[in-house]
Amino acid sequence: MKNRLKVLRAERDLSQAGLGEKLDVSRQTVNALETGRYDPSLPLAFKIARLFGLTIEEIFQDGDNNEKDL
């Protein structure tokens, strides 16, 4: 799953540790999210979306576009 976390963080001039503090997660977790090595749980995804004032879909994009299959 791709995401815009790094861009959104940079726009707000936040460090990984700073963003982690706001989300109550570690710097390593922010790093893993930004590099796409870890997909967040739904509660964490909502937390991230609320923090940036965006929807989950505006931050995270599924690699496979399955919308046409639904």
Binding site: Q16, E21, Q28, A32, T35, L44
Partner: protein
Amino acid sequence: MTQKTAYQRYMRLFVPAMLFYVVSILGISLAKRHEIFPDPVFYGLAIIPAIAMLIWIWGHMRYITELDEYLRGLQVRAVLIGMAGVMAFATVWGLMEEMTDIVRIPIFYVVPGFYLIYGITHSVLMKREGSCS
């Protein structure tokens, strides 16, 4: 709770429990060497280090639940790899002890063996995280 606070809470329990574990094992070994107690007493004394170990494992479980979801996953992976390593070694070595004249390793070494593999695995996983920024 922050990750740092969780780690500090864990270490506050782990360090004294580990020290108690080491001291109790050394004490029991010395007592046995000098035949201070009759043999049946050692059945009871052998439980003491296990209690210390159960205390720090409880602390470890609490620590894992207090971590964020990603670090929790890394911890679980490290614990599973530690368990897998020890169980695989115990299986192979145990069978060799039964079938050959290979040197016998006391079962007591399961705990340090597990923590050795777990510690190395966790360090590698965390180092990889640190170098990926």
